[in-house]
Symmetry: C2
């Protein structure tokens, strides 16, 4: 096991009806800005539940935060926070709304250009507005971590930052809010959570037994419950298991004390920035190809993954690895995602621009061993055609 420094102060209120328990967690007298996305929370009743719970608080709202939240939109929210002297934020939505809220929370207290947060790797983030979350889309884990990703439309850049100042103070996870999600978002969420676990698990062994067992437990649950969320959208237990799994997939716990990869995510971010693919779609494309190209570096963990997640324990090792990767890809397809670039209308001519973007963002030594050079990334993308 590697040394680690782990802390996660976010409070989780989990279960049906918990939105009603939200009010005491927002400070009395706070000027609250409620942030949300495209308005689905009005259709499914969450907007009304949150507003009812916040009665007695001064609440302004800011809607329209996009999937892959844009810097351009978030800067408008920052202006509103300042002009209205907002001192508490409440993100109601999925990872994009939460990520956007984290950026707003940090940038609103900053005396310089908000984009500097990315340029300075958040070294200039020394405080942030406090905020809470009402989660409506299990996927990114942002509701219980300190990271965020923002897209700058003007320059086609998708950049990440992390700071201990942007842990949500609380997150309400009510599985019933996810009943009405479109199948595409359900599938995306499951694949996103699956990839998060894989980035922290499928590297090389350091004999971290608990982290491995926890990661495998999350993967097994996604494999069991993911397809059921598509076929039984109103099954509370399925939704509950998926929601808690997605949160734990990226709250720091399973990644503490183990090597981490994240090459798939970095390449995926460029595909989203350049071609507007859904985040999970990029992962479904890149991850299987990454596992195939990096087969030797990841051999021991691939065999462990084959055995403990897919029950492939007999026969030739090469066949077991092939099967495990093929099943991973089949699982992503079963969740409704295409797993090749061609499935999203992208071809060989789209590879070089991705590599240029990686180079521009200094993403030339990726992976748990820093050996995913631009050449390796090229091979991955070629295999994903």
């Amino acid at each position: 096991m590697l040394n680690f420094d782990y802390q996660n102060p976010t409070r989780i209120l989990f279960g049906q009806g918990q939105i009603a328990a939200l009010a005491p967690l927002v400070p009395q007298g706070a000027r609250v800005l409620m942030l949300y996305g495209g308005g689905s929370i009005r259709a499914n009743g969450v907007y009304g539940e949150v507003m009812a719970s916040l009665q007695g608080h001064a609440v302004l709202e800011f809607g329209g935060i996009e999937p892959n939240p844009t810097y351009e939109t978030l800067c408008k929210a920052i202006e509103l926070v300042r002009s209205e002297r907002i001192d508490y934020l409440l993100a109601v939505g999925g990872g994009s709304v939460i990520d956007g809220t984290k950026f707003i929370a940090a940038a609103a207290l900053l005396d310089e250009d908000p984009w500097s947060i990315f340029e300075k790797r958040a070294a200039n983030v020394t405080a942030a507005l406090p905020f809470g979350v009402v989660l409506t889309l299990p996927a990114t884990g942002s509701e219980m971590n300190s990271g965020a990703v923002v897209t700058r439309r003007a320059t086609q850049e998708k950049r990440a930052f992390a700071s201990r100042h942007v842990f949500p103070q609380f997150a309400v996870l009510d599985p019933t809010t996810t009943y009405s999600l479109p199948a595409r978002q359900v599938g995306n969420g499951v694949v996103d959570a699956f990839a998060h676990v894989m980035e922290q698990y499928l590297t090389y062994p350091v004999n971290a037994k608990v982290q491995d067992r926890f990661a495998e437990g999350l993967l097994l649950t996604l494999v069991e419950e993911g397809p059921r969320a598509l076929s039984e959208p109103d099954n509370y237990e399925v939704r509950a298991n998926l929601m808690w799994t997605a949160t734990l997939a990226l709250n720091g716990l399973i990644g503490a004390g183990v090597p981490q990869d994240w090459a798939t995510h970095m390449i995926g971010h460029e595909l989203t920035a350049l071609h507007n693919l859904d985040h999970a779609q990029t992962l479904a494309v890149v991850l299987p190809a990454m596992l195939r190209v990096r087969r030797e570096a990841k051999r021991a963990k691939l065999l462990q993954y084959a055995a403990r997640v897919w029950n492939l324990v007999e026969g030739d090792e090469e066949v077991r690895i092939d099967d495990a990767i093929a099943r991973t890809e089949a699982f992503f397809r079963a969740m409704g995602l295409a797993t090749r670039l061609s499935g999203y209308g992208l071809g060989r001519e789209h590879i070089e621009p991705v590599l240029h973007a990686l180079e521009a963002h200094r993403m030339t030594k990726l992976g748990e061993d820093r050996l995913v050079t631009l050449d390796v990334s090229r091979k991955v993308l070629e295999l994903a055609l």
Copy 2:
């Protein structure tokens, strides 16, 4: 899955050498009281490491906190805290030192009799002195939770309290500090952690898949690594896995959203209070008997436990359950603990006093279903003879 409210703010610094990273976590200018037990930290070098790390801080010390820390001893520490205007505590040791420190932290700010914390179920604990932990004995999980158990020698009572105000601010977990532990403490620690998981896992199913997979992962790790800690005491990886497992066994995570039992612990506390058995010894005695007596209420989970922890998946269900419980008991014995009352010199005549104590402490409806009455507890103790 049941609804839940989960938060755990304790920061974990894990790994060899992390004691040296402790200083910045203790506030500058604080008047620190370092608390410890019988002095083993002087022999194994931890005392020196901690003191070196705290150079520049004002540090007083209070040693001699016993296993099963006594109210009588802790009250002396409370006096010292007040007379010396201590404003930060540092517990260096195992669960007893940490539990004692939690009680001191809460009681030092209290305007009434410290014992009232137990009488009032900690409703009167509205603040506590801040404190950190340097863990030297993986067992109780106290280093990352908000509970504590204290024994009052005068009345032979062992009582527990919990309050969100007594989460450690940080805990340093350096596995090398455990190399020098006596075999008895290693065995006790592994059995204690195992019982903690079982109290949260071996109840009845609520389809909480992640909690179940995590619990099974902790149990599997204890079964694999526990005996190795006895045979290879200087194996860092073994010690690291055990240390992190014991912490996660009782930090609230695997118990969130599932029924919890704790009947074994409550009966065990009375055995310790009356006969001074080690805490883990009482668990090794009571747990196997509890599983046998409560076989029908726990049937579904016993079969799951048999399959996923002991790989007992074929043949008659009754035999599988018998085998799983027998293997549990054999595992405790392999860790060096007797699993019957007779192994500690106790006989049938010692049962009634335990039942009287349970009644006096209102422990007459224990277990995940409140069906462990005094009659059931009697059966458990008789079966444990």
